[in-house]
Structure formats: structure tokens, C-alpha cells
């Protein structure tokens, strides 16, 4: 996913000379293709994220298109006020790129987990929030953001992210992608949870339950139509994210549903409101939070199993 980002950024930068890449000394073995091709447009700002974001704002105010890269807690949280004032309030044309979405830095511990970033980025006025599902989406999202004017947050997974898409897709910021058709339940997932939701949907299909899977890669602005359509055409809507159940995709979907006239079974699946305690890998942490394909499938069966079989 990270490599797909770099590849797409290099491609966009060939055409667009105003693109600049800043890193807070992270992205070793990831950013080299950009560094080698555009050494004058690459800046390792060192471990100083507040300055990095402020510098990006200054560059943007001078006509550049900076991409700021770090691990999510250091990209989105340490310099939060700089993102709020210098980027969002000034509508500076800066893209914040955070890697290590959700629990991907599992064993590194909760300092490196990224489970509230969507919530805080989504709350910022003028901010667009994009969470690609896999490397295909990451590449397309990077391309789209390079052409997009204004502040945006790109949330990337780490490495070896399973592919959610088996075919070519068309990617548009703010428009959900239907990865799988189905009218029994709708699994609205974001980021790496899209491929997990696909696995859950596949196992449910064997039981005769057809799940729609949506890749809700843009959390803000949210594709309200896709949510309402899912609520109209299916019996159960689940939001699925590797992020806290507070403030992220689940909250965004809840807001749309609660304010609509649709009546549908709904549940938010995500990381519970706590710091991880058990020292385990990403799958282990997902399991603790009910986020494995098996657990998602069980949840669907529990909520609508009998209904669906009728």
C-alpha cells in the first residue's frame, strides 16, 4: 500500500512540478523512488512534525503542493493544531499521509496504534478523509489527491495488505465502491477491513446469505446515497473499521441513518473504546475487537440468520 502510494506520487510528480514530499524521517525503503527521481523536491524534515506541517503550509501558501508523510500518530496527532490552523483553516493545499492504519503496528504497542485518527481528522472543517482499502485504491487515491485542491488526509495501511479488488475499479473521492453485490446485509467497510468484509461475505454466501460489500474509502465527505441505498435495499447494515467505534466510519454512517427516515438494523463494528492490553499481532487484536472475517460473519448470522433463510 505504501509502495503504491510512492509509485502513484512519482507518476503524478512527473507531470506536476509543484508536488513536494516531506517526511518526518519515516518511510525508509518506501519513499526512495521519489527521493531518487526528485531529490530537490524531497525533504526529510527530521523528527519534528509540528514544524513539518507548518512548513508544508508555508510551501502551499507559496504555490506548492506538499505531501506530508509519517506514521499516523505522528502525522495526524502530534501536529494536530498545525493541521487545524495552518492547513485546514487556511485551506492550504496540503495532503497529510499517515501510514499504519488501525492496528497494523500491532506489536509495537498502543503508542503506534491508529484508532482515533479518522475521528479527529473528520472533525476538522475543510478536511477530506480518504482511507484506501488496498494498494489499487491507494494508488488511485494518491492520483486523485494529487489533482485535488485543498486539505486532505490519506490513511494508509502498512505492508502486505490483502487485495480487496480483483478487477479494475473506478475511483472517485466521495463515492463508495461496490465490491460485492447482495441484498441480505450491507457491510460498509473502510481501509483494510474491506478485504476482511469480502472474506466474511464469501463465507456467508456459502450459507445462502448475500452481503453487499462497500468500500467506503472516503469518510469525509461520506457517500450518503450509498449508505441510504444500503439501508433501503438490505436488512442489516454493519459499519466495519479498524478504528474506534467512536467518531470514525461507524459514527459517520450512524449520523446519516439516524437523520434519515430509513429503518434498518444497524451495528458499528470497530475497535472498542480502550487501549489494547493483550500483546498480540494484528489478527489477534482484530479478534479481540470482533473484527475477523469469521466474527463478522457470525455477527451477520446472529442478527439476520433466521430471517435470511426464511
Amino acid at each position: 500500500m505504501r509502495q503504491a502510494f510512492t509509485k502513484a506520487l512519482v507518476k503524478a510528480s512527473e507531470k506536476d512540478k509543484s508536488i513536494i514530499l516531506l517526511t518526518g524521517d519515516l518511510g525508509f525503503t518506501v519513499l526512495e523512488p521519489f527521493m531518487e527521481k526528485f531529490p530537490k523536491r524531497f525533504f526529510n524534515m527530521g523528527v519534528s512534525e509540528q514544524n513539518m506541517v507548518g512548513v508544508a503550509a508555508g510551501l502551499a501558501l507559496s504555490g506548492k503542493k506538499p505531501f506530508v508523510y509519517s506514521i499516523i500518530p505522528f502525522a495526524a496527532m502530534r501536529p494536530f493544531e498545525q493541521i487545524r490552523n495552518d492547513i485546514c483553516y487556511q485551506k492550504a493545499n496540503v495532503k497529510i499521509v499517515g501510514v499504519g492504519a488501525g492496528l497494523s503496528y500491532a506489536l509495537d504497542g498502543p503508542t503506534h496504534h491508529s484508532i482515533i485518527d479518522i475521528a479527529i481528522m473528520r472533525a476538522l472543517p475543510n478536511m477530506t478523509v480518504v482511507c484506501p482499502a488496498d494498494s489499487i485504491e491507494a494508488g488511485l487515491a494518491t492520483k486523485a489527491l494529487a489533482e485535488f485542491k485543498g486539505p486532505a488526509y490519506l490513511r494508509l495501511g502498512k505492508s502486505r495488505v490483502p487485495q480487496a479488488h480483483k478487477q479494475n475499479i473506478s475511483f472517485e473521492i466521495g463515492k463508495a465502491i461496490e465490491v460485492r453485490k447482495g441484498e441480505d446485509a450491507a457491510l460498509i467497510a473502510t481501509g483494510e477491513m474491506v478485504s476482511v468484509a469480502c472474506d466474511a461475505a464469501e463465507s456467508l454466501a456459502e450459507k445462502g446469505i448475500e452481503c453487499r460489500v462497500l468500500s467506503m474509502h472516503t469518510i469525509k465527505p461520506l457517500d450518503r446515497e450509498a449508505v441510504l441505498k444500503a439501508a433501503k435495499e438490505t436488512k442489516l447494515v454493519l459499519s466495519i473499521e479498524e478504528h474506534s467505534v467512536i467518531g470514525g466510519l461507524g459514527s459517520a454512517v450512524t449520523e446519516v441513518l439516524a437523520e434519515s427516515d430509513r429503518c434498518v438494523l444497524f451495528e458499528r463494528l470497530g475497535v472498542q473504546d480502550r487501549f489494547a492490553e493483550k500483546i498480540t499481532d494484528q489478527n489477534g487484536l482484530r479478534e479481540e475487537n470482533g473484527l475477523t472475517a469469521k466474527q463478522i460473519a457470525e455477527k451477520v448470522l446472529k442478527r439476520i440468520g433466521k430471517q435470511a433463510h426464511r
Binding site: F43, N51, G54, L61, G63, P66, D86
Partner: protein, 292 residues
């Protein structure tokens, strides 16, 4: 010489505007607005390459007022320069007005960055200076900081990065009036030795009397002080400068003058605008005493 008299008159006019704005809007921070008035006056009326008719010209010098709470100073100078109409100043910090109490990008021309939260201006200035280098444009970026603001870690991050990138088109100025919200800066958190700190961070540093026009004019002429290094001017100033009952007095970080105080302030400012009306020696001693 005539130029210095002219600049001094300009500064007096700006001071009167600041007092009037503070009185009418009931805004805080008049003390810190007055302490940086002479610095900003010299910059805008003698040093910076700017054209109010073409406020976004690529080659222009930029000024980021990192101590955004001195917005009244910046706004009155920009209006005086002709970036916008002077009557807009009536809309400062009042209901349904156009100007917030801190500078905002995009509301009136001439403001280069939104500030108000301390520790943001220098990184933004570094970005602007870096862009200048990348584009081969030889403009300067001036960033005006407060002293208390130097307690923000982001400034020191920015300092490292300015020196590392050899940004000799970056000129930072500290309005060193020695006061912050709760008291004397060096009693709240000791900043000294301040010049040595900036030197150690890779800046070429000069100390000046921030109210001595001759010194300010000649110092700004010398930037960059060293090729390949960002410049730092530590300007020793007096909070509330120019108005006897406000000078060096913490409460004017918060208060705004009433009508009678306004009248008195105007009177004092007008007197000072005429050269020789105030003992230069007295002024010098005040600064000296403060910088200890």
C-alpha cells in the same frame, strides 16, 4: 535623517490607530501591539519589497506576524500602506466586523498567514522561504515572534530546519518586551541566554533596540547577516511603548483604554512624533535596564 523622521511620524500615526482600535473594540493586547510597532513600521515602510496593488506578486517579500495577538499593529500598517481602506479598521474585533482579533488569511489583502496560536509562524515562514529557494526567487520572509512564544517547542524545530536548509532569505525578529501573560518572561520560564540559543541553533543573530529607528533601519539593511544562514534579530522593546502609563506594565496585556486614557495617549504620542521632544538618554536607559 529625513527618512527617520518620516518613519517616526508613521509609527506615531500607527500607535494612535492602535489606541483608537483598542478603545473602540475593547480588544486586549495593546501592550504587545505597541512594543512591535516600530519594528513593523520600519519593515513595511522602509525594508520590504511589496506592492499593495499587487498583493500576491510572486516576488514580494512576506511577513508572518507569528505573535498574532498584535493584529492591530499589522492591520493599521496594512491599511496605511493601502492594502485596504482605512475605514475597515473600524471593523476590528467587533460584532459583524470583517477583522477578527487575530490575523486571517484571505479576509484582507496583505495578510500572509493566519496566526493567533503561538509557535506557528516560524514553521510557516520556513516553508515560504524554502519555496523561494526552490523557485529561485530572491524574496525575503520576515517572521515576527513574541518572547513568550519562544517557549513553544515548534519554534526550535523550525530553527533547526531553517539552518539545515540554509535559509538566508528568512529573517526572524523577536519582540523582546520581557512580559508574558503571568509576569516577567524570565520569571515565568527563563529564556536567557536567548541570543546564544539562536546562535547555537544556526542563526546569525543581532541584538537591537527595537525602538531605535536608525538601528532598525541599518540592521535590516544588513540581512542576511551571513550567507547561508537564517537571520535573527532580537529586538529589545518596551511593552506598551509610547504611552507612559502603559509602558512596561503587565495589565495592558489585557486592558483597553477608556476615553480619557485614549486622549492622554494621543497627546503623548503626538509629542514624541516631534523629534527632540523626548530625552533620547531616558529612552536608552529604559531599554538597557529592561534587557538585563
Amino acid at each position: 535623517m529625513a527618512k527617520l523622521v518620516e518613519l517616526k511620524k508613521k509609527a506615531a500615526g500607527i500607535r494612535k490607530k492602535i489606541v483608537e482600535m483598542s478603545y473602540k473594540s475593547n480588544a486586549s493586547h495593546i501592550g504587545g501591539a505597541l512594543s512591535c510597532t516600530d519594528i513593523l513600521t520600519v519593515l513595511y515602510f522602509d525594508v520590504m519589497k511589496i506592492n499593495p496593488k499587487r498583493p500576491l506578486e510572486k516576488t514580494r517579500d512576506r511577513l508572518v506576524l507569528s505573535k498574532g495577538h498584535a493584529a492591530a499593529t499589522l492591520f493599521s500598517i496594512l491599511a496605511e500602506k493601502g492594502f485596504f481602506e482605512k475605514k475597515t479598521l473600524e471593523e476590528f474585533h467587533v460584532e459583524n466586523g470583517r477583522l477578527w482579533g487575530h490575523p486571517n488569511l484571505g479576509i484582507v489583502p496583505g495578510v500572509e498567514a493566519t496566526t493567533g496560536s503561538l509557535g506557528h509562524g516560524l514553521p510557516i515562514g520556513v516553508g515560504m522561504a524554502l519555496a523561494g529557494k526552490l523557485d529561485g526567487l530572491n524574496y525575503n520572509v520576515f517572521v515576527v515572534l513574541s518572547d513568550g512564544e519562544c517557549e513553544e517547542g515548534s519554534n526550535w524545530e523550525a530553527a533547526l530546519s531553517a539552518a539545515h536548509n540554509k535559509l538566508d532569505n528568512l529573517v526572524a525578529i523577536i519582540d523582546y518586551n520581557k512580559w508574558q501573560c503571568f509576569g516577567k518572561t524570565n520569571e515565568v520560564v527563563n529564556l536567557e541566554p536567548l541570543a546564544e540559543k539562536w546562535k547555537a541553533f544556526g542563526f546569525s543573530v543581532k541584538e537591537v533596540n527595537g525602538h531605535n529607528f536608525e538601528e532598525l533601519v541599518s540592521t535590516f539593511k544588513e540581512v542576511p547577516f551571513e550567507k547561508g544562514k537564517p537571520s535573527m534579530i532580537i529586538a529589545n522593546t518596551v511593552k506598551g511603548k509610547g504611552i507612559s502609563f502603559m509602558e512596561d506594565c503587565l495589565e495592558w496585556h489585557y486592558k483597553s483604554p477608556n476615553k480619557e486614557q485614549c486622549r492622554q495617549a494621543f497627546e503623548e504620542i503626538e509629542k514624541q512624533a516631534i523629534p527632540g521632544s523626548k530625552s533620547k538618554e531616558k529612552e536608552k536607559n529604559k531599554i538597557k535596564g529592561e534587557s538585563k
